[in-house]
Symmetry: C2
């Protein structure tokens, strides 16, 4: 038997889920506005909200920390507006991000606000090592949540974000080239040890869920999150939902065959975007062009910033392929907004110009009118994405792990 | 003022639209099954269906032409099942497809079944010429519909399918390289002359709507329609809806930069898929490799079928780029099913092997598990796609043309 959340939500109907989602992602929001945005009757909204207030997940009292809610309540003429807000501390969620060298863990509240952060070095990337370290890190975060001095709500779930092909339904990492993993049943291992619902998800998709529910995507009809760093990834939000792929794979922007065919990718395929645009590929190229085989990435960045043409060439080449990949993506799905994020964004200036030129050269017609937005980004954000995915599953009442 | 449909549907609520859509696309279907598939209560389904039956759009009587409905009604124990079907002849729709040399017009019934077909040669591709010819062709089809001897229902709208960047909201063809058009306000011209609601749409997207509502897509959670012929296009159905693109552009598979950069596309960009995979590109290459400058496409196909290696090379090259483009698309959106259609499919055998090899080489992980399905296809299907788009707008009560 898979564990159930500690604190189940009183949501019996699709309308209830829709209403809570609106409060969570767009609150503070008055009942009448929820009715307008969902197409539900005001009576239906009121009926859905009542048990949520009763159980302490939602409040119609002004929230001290929210100046807008305060202003709005002063503006009310006649009957007060009483906008609805989620009670952030009603539940806690843990998000974990796996990288080849470190684990990053965060505890968040119900609105994906980060309350605690813990990092942990990994001695190696073996699935058993990493699983044990994940359990250890989760236990530390759970202990903090359960500390009576803490104001945190009860833990309702743990999310784990891993790069690669992840079967979220069964909680199995099918193929993660960065970790060197194949078919690792991560959710089952964690659930057995921790007795908490566990969601395992592709890291870029987790970030996209976070942007959709709690970030720049809240008001966008469609958007893409493109991550640039040790890999190149892409999350897509289209037609009201994050795209998950019929077989669990989507957004593999780093594996579009847009680079020269003679380059072999870490995934084994030829000509993938990552063969020139991943940070490893940029470094390898910079070592080659500068003739400095011991250069490290920060050294390459420094040289390029100092105007060294040989070092710049590696970034130019990456920018060109990233720009082509962005164009390919917008030509296919035509998002309203493209958010560029990831570790690589810190040095965005080094490849921005070539990237924009290649994008402009290949974006088709009005597809190129999408907004490109830069978003600075830390490793904690990846972990927060995993937490956001848990919050979404929790609100939607999605079944725990299927084995 | 834009014209309203001749015969408005009695649909006041989103639930009503959902119920009619299920009957239209999945009928014959019992009320209980509609309730199950939509999540509506049986009472809500019954309430939504009553005015549709009353007004003659839907029937619960067995339809003679449908053997399944007959069997199902015999199987009923106790209360009869009375599956619901749309009354095909309750309305008529006209679909028109524009090509550089011909117009194709069809009249369909409410279920997109083709009832009449008319083709018309174009003397040139000037927007004024084509608009006048479209109006002439539509008038002929309208006359047939209005003939008292005809059993056709009243005309509720006209759809026009054009390749390129089409602003469907305003009914303007923004950029159609094949037609040499820029900013042609086709819907306004046709509406003014014919006084019927007119929908103008990208042709591949129209085909995707037809597959979604009346074709292979009815039971797929996600699918792509890839068309191969004078151009290479792609329609996507993801997360419950056909992808339209925030700025009206999506599915431009023919303009992914996957071909050699020295080749210039008809759209002016470099390295587009169409520079090697369109039928014109295949022909140009075959003329070059065979040294026969007067070869035509059927001659090139004949030579390739006869085993001429020079002619085959042109098809191999096209197959390779099409396969890479398919892989790029599935890596990004991960559809369950890919339908390959279009004029070029008749000679699919000539490039199938290279296409499959390139697809297998570049599809990432489980994304490559999607089904690839071949669908033979005539020009009438494009026109039927335009009609399906009108049926969808009509059922959804979408506002007529915004100017």
């Amino acid at each position: 038997m898979s564990p159930r959340p500690n604190r189940p939500l009183p949501l019996a109907t699709p309308a209830g889920i829709e209403v809570l989602t609106k409060i969570l992602t767009q609150g503070p929001i008055p009942r009448v506005e929820i009715a307008r945005r969902t197409g539900l009757s005001q009576a239906a909204v009121t009926k859905a909200v009542a048990p949520l207030i009763e159980a302490g997940f939602v409040t119609d009292q002004p929230v001290a920390a929210d100046p807008d809610a305060h202003i709005e309540s002063q503006l009310g003429i006649g009957r007060p507006v009483s906008p609805l807000t989620v009670v952030a501390d009603s539940v806690s969620v843990i998000g974990l991000k796996v990288t080849p060298t470190d684990l990053i863990g965060v505890t968040t509240d119900f609105t994906a606000g980060i309350r605690a952060v813990r990092h942990c070095r990994l001695p190696d990337t073996a699935a058993e090592t990493v699983t044990a370290k994940l359990i250890e890190l989760a236990r530390q975060l759970i202990e903090e949540i359960e500390d009576p001095a803490s104001l945190a709500g009860p833990l309702v779930g743990i999310g784990v974000a891993v790069s690669g092909d992840v079967d979220a339904v069964h909680g199995v990492v099918r193929d993660s080239p960065f970790m060197g993993w194949r078919d690792v049943p991560l959710a089952a291992s964690l659930t057995d040890s921790l007795d908490v619902p566990v969601v395992v998800t592709n890291d870029v998709r987790a970030l996209t869920v976070a942007e959709h529910w709690f970030g720049v995507g809240v008001n966008a009809d469609s958007f893409a999150v493109v991550t640039i760093g040790s890999g190149v990834g892409c999350g897509l939000y289209i037609n009201g939902e994050v795209v998950s792929g019929a077989h669990g794979v989507s957004g593999e922007l780093g594996h579009l065959p847009l680079a020269p065919g003679e380059l072999v990718c870490t995934c084994g395929r030829r000509g993938c975007v990552e063969t020139v645009a991943s940070s490893d590929a940029i470094l390898a190229r910079a070592r080659e062009t500068t003739g400095k085989p011991t250069l490290d990435l920060s050294g390459a960045i420094e040289l390029a910033h100092a105007g060294n043409d040989d070092a710049r060439e590696a970034f130019d080449r990456a920018g060109e392929v990233i720009g082509s990949a962005l164009a390919a993506m917008v030509n296919l799905v035509g998002p309203e907004l493209v958010v560029i994020a990831g570790e690589g964004v810190a040095d965005y200036d080094l490849y921005e110009q070539r990237m924009r030129e290649a994008f402009a050269a290949h974006a088709f017609g009005a597809a190129g009118d999408c907004r490109l937005m830069l978003r600075s980004h830390t490793f904690d954000d990846w972990a927060r994405g995993a937490a956001a995915t848990v919050i979404r599953s929790y609100v939607r009442g999605e079944p725990p792990l299927r084995r």
